[in-house]
Point group: C2
Chain length 502, copies 2
């Protein structure tokens, strides 16, 4: 899959203009930028150097309008300019997701309810594995996937990636996992990388993956830094980090489905200070003409999500027992959308973060959803091939995805204004109602409780009532009810009640 | 069953001396007291007036020795004195339970690991129900039961008790549950009670129940006050509360198995201040010659268990999701034994506190046990007869008691010094080792995690290893191991590993 040229320009679809210029040693020396102007918008974006004297500028038209552009830069012998007409958006393309109160909406106003999965290194696997992953994603319910730009060195992740992000050569594969702290001398391990020379072949793979995710309607929650490293990509000088981030923005920001996740587990990289992270976040905020979503993910201490550059909370659970149930606290604390991006994974490996039953993972999703928050899936089954979805992608083995599809379908019944006015409905149950408090849509979840009945007090409205078995994925019609009534329930865990005003 | 007379005096068994004296209007006017002296102890205890000019003094010999006693009081025409020989204790009798570090031990040093249940009003039910309850307790694993002195007015508890604790007459039974706050004018509801005149027939029932529990080796966790009231017993003047409490101590403290629970949900009785509760606790501490265990149970805010009169923490869960997992925090905070006396019940009723699966309740017990704390069971099945074990006793219907017996049997394998040196063994798992840190007994629990394997690092000791399925109640021998090794596990929830030094 290639990015469209200007002849195929279309609203909400990235296009690319490629041209030749001066050969430069470091892509970070490029000063190529472009201005795109239409009736309704004017955007300045950076181009990037793609090696061998070739430059590219990428742009996503937000309007189905006539555009003019001009590309300038010292590396060019003369400015490049032109014009094109962007055709109207086609079905399934909604533009860029942005925060909308406690929720998300695309450029065209369509709400996005993130239902994420995690496959940290899927884009860097051998070709056949990448194809297998995309086949899996086609039939999976997920509309967001978290993955890393840089390769991963961790348990189950000891093989070399398909290529390296920078020109150079890597230390040999290690047979055992060794944790290299941030201050390790990675060169002394045998690595020889020029961190100022991005490897175009590597980044083309990421281009391809992000584009293919876009075609599937999946947001690419792109992790810019992470600590699971044996090559030194987590330990570049701060100026190099900033240059790399600017390159990533120049390269990827025209893809409507990109989210910027500054880090997986920022706090495991003590070599970067909070001031460094803020600088990275503010750099992205100022360079990214599209205002893609920005956050940063913790191992233990949550980042201070009140920072202005942070658009939403990206949370790894802070407690082993109580995870998404903390959504209301976090909403209140930061007044931003809350996404639980790591709440342990469905699986059976030997790790505390990777041995949840599907029942428990799905329960955590419902606890999030009925508090007006979002959660992210992952799968860690110790299949003989040592291919774990959580990192490599491949094939989904778990029982949760089908249940998460059921949750997605139930949430899709909510009015377009979105879900989110979290109301504590009673004891050990949670509910979301309409955002505006009108309560035309009420979804109550009982979690691990096993009620034979619950009392409802609905006032004068008439509601169609359904009893949902969130595990067995059934919806039972319980009639039209109003006022005070007692609803008989099946005395099983994982039951929800959906009430919709007639 | 009657209390022994002095002719049948025995170590760790209560005896009673009854005699006639002046008829008095209020039992609270009695000033009868007695001194018991043997070679090893001297105890002063209060007697009590049991109506119709009859008085009683109760005493539990702590030693198999010759005792002399003298009973005095203005109500007596002359002191009553005498002597007896207490025979040595018989099997199953260990004296009074007291706090021992984070744990409990009887007078004779035998450790007590409380495994409680709850049947708040069982003693006040019709005779046949009481008999049914005792038949159930005979084959149940519980060695402690929480129940109330005063009758209970609450959902499922609207029928009148078999009798009333004070002379007088009660308002008629109500068909619907009404919550009467503490400041209600209970007389205006139609109640006519003389709170200074305990009803002997009522207290004899309690005597009988406590004695029968003693015979079964079950501690009687006696709740002196509670807010679920339509008669005014929760709203007596403070001086009357104190007089009642002194009466209870005089009447019950010779029973070795009594624990004093000042309240169920003290905070739902705003008519009593913290100073009142402290006064009640200190009164018991000063009157009770045996030093029975003393605590107080909350609805929402925990009591300040650091008060000197409090011997252990009696906790209702403070969070709906995280209950016994908080044991380590509470141990650290109060440095006293931690008993989770209310963590929701196995059942299926329409209440958030009464709709747990057995799996979840048993999990909470294991989380407590492997943190060196204790928990209390209850059952709330909406059986057609409206007899719920949680309050009425009757018959146990749940799946948890058999599993709790399994837990009890596993804990009984621990060395006599007790369990309790809580060690966080890893990620999402808990373990207790020996108290003295020698790690001859290690019990690791994995809760809802589903591991296919875990790594152990045991040093040079040789351990016999067993894999416990705490739900299916099986113990699988996994051989003798030492040093570093990987243990294959069955990839199911509710697994524990027991390691005992050879």
């Amino acid at each position: 899959m290639r990015i469209a040229g200007i002849d195929a320009a279309r609203q909400y679809v990235p296009l690319e203009i490629r041209f030749r210029g001066q050969e430069i040693g470091s892509a970070y020396e490029s000063d190529v930028s472009a201005v795109f102007v239409s009736k309704s918008e004017e955007k300045r974006v950076s181009g990037f150097y793609d090696g061998n004297g070739e430059y590219a500028v990428r742009f996503m038209p937000s309007y189905p309008e006539e555009y003019k552009y001009e590309i300038t830069g010292k590396s060019l012998s003369a400015p490049v300019s032109g014009s094109f007409a962007a055709k109207p958006k086609v079905e399934g393309f909604h533009g860029v997701a942005r925060a909308n109160g406690f929720h998300f909406a695309y450029s065209d106003g369509v709400p996005l309810r993130p239902l994420g999965t995690t496959a940290y290194a899927f884009a860097l696997q051998p070709r056949e594995r990448v194809e297998e992953t995309f086949r899996s994603l086609e039939s999976a319910p997920f509309n967001k996937i978290r993955f890393c730009v840089f390769p991963k060195h961790y348990i189950h992740n000891l093989k070399a990636p398909f290529a390296y992000p920078f020109v150079g050569s890597a230390a040999p594969e290690s047979a055992d996992f060794v944790w290299y702290g941030g201050e390790t001398n990675f060169a002394s391990l045998g690595n020889r990388f020029d961190f100022s020379a991005p490897n175009p072949a590597y980044f083309e793979r990421l281009d391809e993956c992000i584009l293919r995710l876009m075609e599937l309607g999946i947001e690419a929650d792109l992790i810019l830094f992470h600590p699971y490293d044996r090559w030194g990509f987590s330990n570049m000088p701060h100026e190099t980090d900033i240059a790399y981030v600017k390159y990533a923005v120049a390269r990827f920001s025209a893809f409507p489905n990109v989210w910027w996740s500054l880090a997986n587990e920022y706090d495991l990289m003590p070599q970067k200070s909070v001031a460094d992270w803020d600088d990275i976040g503010e750099t992205i905020e100022s360079c990214d003409a599209y205002g893609h979503l920005r956050s940063i993910h913790n191992c233990i201490p949550l980042y201070d999500f009140s920072r202005p550059w942070v658009t939403h909370c990206s949370i790894q659970r802070v407690d082993l027992y109580k995870t998404t149930e903390l959504a209301d606290e976090f909403r209140e604390r930061w007044n931003k959308p809350v996404v639980f991006d790591e709440i342990a994974y469905e699986g059976d490996i030997d790790q505390g973060w990777g041995a949840l039953t599907a029942e428990e993972l799905v329960r955590r999703f419902w606890e999030a959803a009925t508090r007006g928050a979002y959660a992210t899936h992952g799968e860690t089954f110790d299949v003989p091939s040592d291919v774990l979805w959580w990192s490599h992608g491949g094939t989904l083995h778990g029982e949760s995805p089908a249940r998460l599809a059921f949750l997605r379908d139930v949430l899709a019944l909510a009015p377009a204004c979105g879900l989110g006015a979290y109301v504590k409905k009673g004891w050990a149950e949670t509910a979301v109602s309409d955002e505006d408090g009108s309560e035309s849509f009420i979804l109550v979840y009982y979690g691990f409780n096993r009620y034979s009945a619950r009392d409802f007090h609905l006032g004068s409205g008439r509601y169609s009532v359904e009893i949902l078995d969130t595990w067995n994925m059934t919806r039972e019609n319980a009639g039209v009810r109003s006022g005070d009534f007692r609803l008989k329930l099946p005395a099983k865990p994982y039951i929800a009640v959906l009430l919709r005003k007639e």
